[in-house]
Symmetry: C2
Subunit: 411 residues, 2 copies
């Protein structure tokens, strides 16, 4: 039915059928929004992270359990994906807004080493486990790559919920997560070149690094410069909510540029937030972005939860391999990220390690890519999802008491 639309003629039949889908999608979003907000509220009252409540709501309401949120419905799938992507872009922009470039450079090198070691260990552990259990190089490297990227969204939300974003350890985590995300995408770029040509090319690595360096320097530092020098012009526009409209354009432009040059859109959104934070004292867009985040942020976490196929874990072999790789992903990241900052003390180092453990969308994207190229099969994809799931669900339960302990130490 929808194919008729492609003809480019007047497509009333489609519009009519569409109207039902539009109504269904909005209805599902409404149910998910209300339920996730209610569950999140209960979690908050019992001092648990809201994000875990929202992820669980997604799992339960998703297509593999209740199928209220019909994520796998062909006609609806893409709309949910767009909403999730927009939501995570807004979330990362908001986090960027709370990050000053001066704070970033302060933690720069520590963040870099945390990120680098936090990428190296899980990759190594994953690769070795796969090789040891009889897989070829490419497949082993891909499963290692799946275990690499920290999902900053979940940890950042907890840091935000507990009002801990300004702590030095939080700055290191956020900085490291950005670098880590970039490293994860470098690994993906390199491996995707390898998957296409079946050999790893030095050219691909060089180009990828070049692109990243240009983007980070030109766009972030350039953006900060332009905003500092010309940003006051926005305040002079005779347009209601001009600063927030400008902020949205900057945020999505950075996200799209990042996406077009092969980085994750959320990396761009974060950088846009860093850029716009230069004018925050003047425009105060943060509190308005928070309203938008409070309204659509919940969709990112519920949709990520809804993607979890819990039935895949009924197969004991999948479950066994999944638990083994999850343990390696967990331990590799924890050790890798804690080691470079041991000087700060065990408490802080282990907090940084734990904060970097959650995996998310980048891991899922890499696994999906590997599956599409036939490098891994359905079961290994299930393993990757289990790894993402457990590394996401477990750390919040540790992070919360750790933050409280650190806060006590301060007083």
């Amino acid at each position: 039915m929808i194919a008729d639309a492609a003809a480019g003629t007047i497509n009333a039949v489609v519009s009519n059928g569409d109207h039902e889908f539009v109504s269904m999608i909005l209805f599902q979003l409404l149910l998910v929004f209300f339920t996730a907000k209610a569950v999140g509220y209960v979690f908050a009252r019992f001092k648990q992270p809201v994000v875990v409540g929202e992820l669980l709501t997604g799992v339960i309401m998703g297509p593999y359990v209740l199928n209220i949120l019909q994520l796998n419905e062909p006609n609806m799938h893409l709309t949910f994906e767009v909403i999730a992507e927009a939501a995570v872009i807004v979330l990362l922009f908001l986090i960027g807004l709370e990050t000053k470039i001066s704070d970033m450079t302060k933690v720069g090198w520590r963040s870099f080493w945390v990120a680098a070691a936090g990428v190296f260990f899980p990759f190594l552990f994953g690769y070795l486990y796969m090789k040891y259990t009889g897989n070829n190089d490419l497949r082993s490297m891909f499963m290692g790559a799946v275990m690499v990227a920290t999902s900053v969204g979940i940890t950042a939300r907890i840091l935000k919920e507990l009002d801990f974003l300004s702590a030095d350890v939080s700055r290191i985590i956020l900085g490291a997560a950005v670098i880590d995300d970039i490293l994860g995408l470098v690994v993906l770029s390199v491996l995707s070149g390898a998957a296409e040509s079946h050999k790893i090319s030095a050219g691909v690595i060089a180009v990828t690094f070049g692109v990243i360096i240009v983007f980070v320097f030109l766009f972030t530092l350039g953006g900060v410069h332009v905003t500092k020098k010309y940003g006051y012009q926005i305040g002079k526009l005779k347009l209601r909510n001009a600063p927030i409209i400008a902020a949205s354009v900057v945020c999505f432009t950075y996200a799209m540029v990042a996406s077009k040059i092969g980085l994750a859109a959320i990396v761009g959104a974060f950088m846009a937030g860093v850029v716009m934070s230069e004018r925050e004292s003047e425009f105060k867009v943060k509190e308005k972005i928070e309203v938008i985040d409070d309204l659509i942020g919940v969709f990112f976490f519920t949709i990520m939860g809804a993607k979890v196929n819990i039935h895949a874990f009924m197969d004991p072999a999948v479950l066994g391999a999944g638990l083994a790789l999850t343990l390696l992903a967990f331990g590799g990241k924890f050790i890798g990220c804690a080691l470079p900052v041991m000087k700060m003390g065990v408490k802080k180092a282990s907090f940084i390690g734990m904060g970097m453990v959650p995996r998310g969308e980048v891991g899922i994207i890499i696994a999906a890519y590997a599956l599409s190229k036939g490098v891994i099969d359905d079961k290994l994809y299930g393993v990757a999802i289990l790894m993402v799931l457990i590394t996401t669900f477990v750390p919040p339960f540790f992070l919360q008491p750790m933050i409280k302990a650190m806060k006590k130490d301060k007083h």
Copy 2:
């Protein structure tokens, strides 16, 4: 490719393909947002209605001219529809928020007669023209029905832009537009019964009226009562932005209930706004909803513009019939709506008549339905679109000087 997802298995290939579409959709939305905001800003500087600028942006960027906003792309179509629908729901909720139930009852009967005569005349004119040019009863009635419903969004936006929402004539227009929308949907319900069974049934008319009465009384008056009595509880929730979250739930719940019982979702959203306005002095959600409207409202108008296939009007027969029916739709609505309020003076009566002229989504929905049932053909659908287009584009140019003249009279 997307059909694989229906299998319910792990669908990585889809996710990978999806990611490209997600990126493309967000990129198109960004371009449209930026362009429409810039064009709207220029229109505002030249004292023209912003909404006309946004509609024109949609026509130019839409699939029939530049195809930057790829509305007819099968994979993207539905996502744009969902965004447009969410945007118009937010817009009508915002308009509802500025409408007190006491104001509504004050203009009640005048609005009712404006709406009733404004529905009767265009329907009669359309029906007679079609009959005279040799069409059967059902087709003639459907084309009459297409000409019935005023699109309150466009006039309301102009009233809002010129800070004229609180004037008595504006209240009458808004009240009449709601009743008119309901009457338009009654006509559609009745005719859809006729299209299915090929006779007009008294049962369908009775059920439709019953549903509307229950909805309006139970949900609006009941909602106002509940909000007045228990609304303060929302303020006590320990949840950031609790009032705006509650408002969103109420807004979309009303919209969905309205949609489920066969009314337009926007009718429900407007009523939800009326209900929530009871607590506005306490919660101040309006300014936050305005932020959301400033960010997504532009998508409703650009997407409506993008639906216009300007190539259909190359056929002189289509253009001729289109212009004739447009003239009748314009004149019928203007006369019908001005007549019942002639006591208020010619200036005010003609303003009300002109304010009710714009047609929009309801007309398009009825035309699309008629096409899907084979009652009208492609060309008559093109005619309906031309009618919606001209009745939408022309009135703003009259409304603006009229408002200024009335404002002068006051001083």
